[in-house]
């Protein structure tokens, strides 16, 4: 955090005054040469975090203070010995140069950091453009190609071929929609504008609605739900929770077997909502596990489509709930995502009513 210039100047005045005052009290033990070194240290410290004007002020002020209060004859700016005069001039010179150099180095460092950050942003942006142009253009190409073929009256398509083209258009549009949804969610997270809209959630009906919705778009998957009995209501943003479960399920299907079996266990651990989602897929290569939640990260040579946004959105939405997520390979094969979310609970659902 940077202080205002006026505050910096007041702090310089105060610290030089205070330091000189303390030195003044102990002058008889220290000797006036040591006081110069102490003031020099103070000026150097000031230079490590203040702007150029306060630094020059500190150098000048401390030199004059040293001269006036410590160099004999004391309480005058007059200097009797030529040796002391030399020391005084050297002090002033060293304090000034030292201070200015430190400020310059700090500025150069800040510039280098900015440049580095800019480079990282540009490279992320390029990665995004690359994966996006692929992920958006592939379904668009499918749609345009299928529509052209269907419109072309010269082509003699049989019923099966037509059905297959229509199915192609359907799944390409759904894929496009999913990608746009992910992009919008990513920008909600990036803008920092994401506000939770919290609502009491009945976990049992929620988790089954997640399952039913997902089966509605992907019927080939088997989802087993294991629910601990007697769970309270949790206060969550159910829209975000739906999205993140959908992304986890999509991920499991994308990287899983041709007949994916997904097991979802919901319970409580340390007063937090715990969701364990495991699949029967090949698992993740151990060396990639630390990176799977990074933005745009995709397994090298992965054939499955994706922008590398899905899991980073999952992580973002969980962080918005102050929760955590981990990925582990299971000894029996497949992998397991473990989600923990701290949230207010209410046990009114377990009371007897009326």
């Amino acid at each position: 955090m940077k202080l205002k210039l006026s505050h910096q100047i007041s702090l310089v005045l105060a610290s030089v005054g205070l330091c000189s005052g303390i030195c003044y009290l102990f002058e008889s033990y220290l000797g006036y040469h040591a006081v110069a070194l102490i003031l020099l240290v103070l000026t150097s410290l000031i230079a490590t975090s203040f702007d150029i004007v306060p630094v020059v002020l500190a150098a000048t002020l401390s030199a004059l203070t040293w001269n006036f209060f410590f160099i004999p004859p004391r309480f005058t700016f007059h200097i009797s010995y030529s040796e002391d005069l030399l020391l005084f001039l050297l002090y002033f010179f060293i304090a000034l140069v030292n201070g200015l150099l430190t400020v310059k180095i700090r500025e150069a460092e800040a510039k280098a950091r900015d440049k580095e950050e800019k480079e990282v942003t540009i490279s992320l942006y390029n990665t995004l453009l690359n994966s996006l142009s692929h992920e958006l253009r592939t379904p668009i190409a499918t749609i345009i190609g299928a529509v052209d073929t269907l419109k072309d009256a010269e082509m003699s398509l049989n019923e099966d071929q037509k059905v297959s083209l229509f199915q192609g258009i359907e799944s390409a549009s759904l894929r496009l929609n999913q990608q746009v949804e992910n992009l919008l969610n990513m920008s909600r997270l990036e803008s920092g504008e994401l506000k939770l809209s919290l609502d009491w959630v009945d976990i049992e009906s929620w988790i089954f609605s997640v399952k039913n919705k997902f089966l509605g778009k992907c019927a080939t998957v088997e989802i087993q739900i294991h629910l601990v009995e007697g769970l309270p209501l949790f206060q969550l943003d159910v829209g975000l929770m739906d999205q993140l479960m959908d992304n986890l399920l999509t991920n499991a299907v994308q990287y899983g077997k041709s007949h994916p079996v997904i097991r979802i266990e919901v319970g409580m651990k340390n007063e937090q909502l715990e969701i364990l989602l495991s699949d029967n897929g090949p698992g993740f290569p151990e060396e990639h596990i630390p990176f799977v939640f990074d933005k745009f990260y995709r397994l090298p040579a992965s054939k499955a489509g994706g922008t590398g946004l899905g899991l980073s959105i999952v992580k973002g939405f969980i962080s918005a709930h102050q929760g955590s997520i981990e990925l582990n390979n299971l000894p029996v094969g497949g992998c397991q995502f473990s989600v923990l979310i701290p949230a207010p609970t209410s046990y009114v659902n377990l009371l007897k009513h009326e």
Partner: protein, 226 residues
């Protein structure tokens, strides 16, 4: 039987064309407006059975259209909105919209909602008995049967079910439900609603985890469907 009339108020011509083809192929009569004011005029002159209303219009907002319709239009208004706009949806439902669909929507869903809306127009609000498949509600005797077996419902569960039945197919917001069941100014939170919907589901649904009657609309409220 006369064809039912649907008024579409949407400024996107591609959506207008698409909706026209879908609706006409399902035997509805279609009227189209591309602005809010034109929509209000057409609603007054044609008295459609259902209005499909887009919230983002060029002249006045969809919310404004709803407020103006509220005074004299008693039929169903289905809103078309974009995803992740629960606040907008809740506001529109509180302003008198009866249902909503988020773009992009599937055709089957659209037709089902329009049919439910037309059925709702025809239902007599003053009836004392409702039948929804295996469910039978008798308002006078205050009894509910499921497959000819009497269900043991608490007072609150019964009131809730009756309010849902009166508004079949309509999306009811949390606020509307809380106000109806616990009265104006009630400080009850949605947690109580969750509880009663949960217990009601266990009694009326064949499989409470795959509800067919009492549907949750995330972040918005509930819909009761036959």
């Amino acid at each position: 039987m006369n064809k039912s009339t649907v008024l579409i108020i949407d400024d996107e011509s591609s959506i207008q064309k698409l909706l026209q083809i879908i609706l006409e192929s399902h035997d509805f009569k279609v009227i189209q407006a591309t602005s809010g004011l034109e929509g209000l005029k057409l609603a007054a002159s044609h008295l459609p059975d259902v209005i499909l209303l887009d919230l983002g219009l060029p002249d006045i907002s969809g919310h404004e259209v709803l407020l103006q319709l509220k005074d004299w239009f008693s039929k169903s208004v289905i809103m078309l909105s974009v995803q992740n706009s629960e606040n907008d949806i809740v506001q529109a439902l509180d302003n008198g919209a009866t249902d909503y669909l988020t773009k992009p929507f599937r055709t089957g869903e659209l037709i089902a909602r329009i049919r439910a809306a037309i059925r709702r127009n025809a239902t007599d609000q003053k009836t004392a008995q409702w039948t929804f498949h295996q469910l039978r509600i008798d308002l006078v005797a205050r009894v509910v049967w499921k497959n000819d077996q009497v269900l043991k419902l608490t007072q609150t569960e019964f009131n809730l079910l009756v309010f849902f039945a009166k508004n079949e197919g309509r999306v009811l917001t949390h606020q509307q439900l809380l106000k109806e069941i616990w009265g104006v100014g009630s400080q009850m939170e949605t947690q109580y609603l969750r509880v009663f919907v949960g217990t009601l589901r266990k009694k009326i649904e064949d499989n409470p985890n795959q509800p067919e009657h009492l549907i949750t609309e995330n972040g918005v409220g509930y819909r009761f469907q036959a």
